[in-house]
């Protein structure tokens, strides 16, 4: 399997590896995939009161393309609003990393992780407002 330079760069030097405090009301967590499928992504975003993503961290169990996809989106997410984050399409990720067709599912997973993290933070915010 030949990887693009961008995939290799993210794989060799992954950005924003780690975790945020999942109990922080301003932190949303998205965990997608399954070990049996060969990839699991955990994406955590910290959103300020203005709805802007201040920080993003990831951990990924998966192939080089999955690691690169999640590493890339943590870079993209910082500074965006959660609405903008929600609008990120897997095709943009796949294009940026020049993923081959067999690896498109990695970008789909990264998009799913963003959507799951955003859904989590929205649920937390809704709870906060209800309280």
């Amino acid at each position: 399997m030949a990887y693009s330079d961008k995939v290799l760069d993210h794989y060799e030097n992954p950005r924003n590896v780690g975790s945020l405090d999942k109990n922080d009301p301003n932190v949303g967590t998205g965990m997608v995939g399954a070990p049996a499928c060969g990839d699991v992504m955990k994406l955590m975003i910290k959103v300020n009161d203005a709805g802007i993503i201040e920080d993003a961290k990831f951990k990924t169990y998966g192939c080089g393309s999955a690691i690169a996809s999640s590493s890339l989106v943590t870079e993209w997410l910082k500074g965006r609003t959660i609405e903008e984050a929600y609008a990120i399409k897997n095709s943009e990720i796949a294009e940026e990393l020049a993923l081959p067709p067999v690896k498109i599912h990695c970008s789909v997973l990264a998009e799913d992780a963003i959507k799951a993290a955003v859904a989590d933070i929205k649920a937390k915010q809704a709870n906060k407002e209800a309280a």
Binding site: M41, I67, L109
Partner: protein, 405 residues
Amino acid sequence: MTVHTPIYLDYSATTPVDKRVAAKMIPFLTEDFGNPASRSHSFGWIAEKAVEEAREEVAKLVNADPREIVWTSGATESNNLAIKGAAHFYSGTKGKHVITVSTEHKAVIDPVRELEREGFEATFLQPEPNGLIDLEKFKAAIRPDTVLASVMFVNNEIGVIQDIEAIGNICRENNIIFHVDAAQATGKVLIDLEKLPVDLMSFSAHKTYGPKGIGALYVRRKPRIRIEAQMHGGGHERGMRSGTLATHQIVGMGEAFRIAREEMATENERIHMLRDRLLKGLQEIDEVYVNGDLAHRVPHNLNISFNFVEGESLIMAVKDIAVSSGSACTSASLEPSYVLRALGRSDELAHSSIRFSIGRFTTEEDVDYTINLMKSKIGKLRELSPLWEMHLDGVDLSKVEWAAH
């Protein structure tokens, strides 16, 4: 001594041609190029003599009669010839049921599948979690119409050695033709076909420091085993396999098998020492699992799963060593190794397995380099792995409901 990367640790995939073998082959490409079937001049006689000497060497390694050795293009062809050839020949008298094992090489499984398409029935035995066959289960699979059984000597992925003698005896008692794929066994385990109750045995040259593209099928003479040819033509190899003999390849296989016979005892001792050194080093890493039985196993093979690390990223991480991954992510499909799945390994562990196979030119320095590389890369990938984090937090991953995609 310096280590040259990438370090080749994939001897079960193929081996380099031993320089002594290559040297012996070359004259048969340029000067002694005759067709061994040419009876009317010395070019043919020289080639024929070389072919017959090589046949003797192949026979000697496995203690067979040279007349029991049929040249083929490799173990895949030998397996096809044996399985389809014997099943077709004997199905009329015995029946149309075949027994094999789910962990066989595709070159056995696929010919059996082909027989199924032709109307045969097949039983694919599941091995025990250590990769070995339970003889009672083998006996239980036998039917009155069982015509053929095919069981590999040494598994290509996990290196386990089946009890060929015991299985062969069961076949004899039940009048079943017994084929053994020994592609991974030559030069690694002693094979004595005078004693072993085996009717057909497949060999490959390139797993034993010979060239690719040449193999052989052992076809027992006493009692005489008959097979239907799969390749029709000039009636070479007593009609069992037509096609002009590839003299240089055959000479290479003969020389490779001669060297194996003479050197396997000392070589295997050295390889055993290296394998144990590798195993000890890798077992210093947490959450590693050896796949397949360690005792009934060739010393050349170490198949290990690194838990909480994904297979393809693992292969990317260890590009300084040439190894095979149990995760077929590296090929077109996204399937974990069917061999490891048959042992009952979870998909995760199957995906994160690496087959290290050691050979003639592996050094202690290669092994030490590999151990250090694995320690550092596994550590790095686990830092990245949400599964490792959950494991450290005491989460039971089997209880998690995953959002499968």
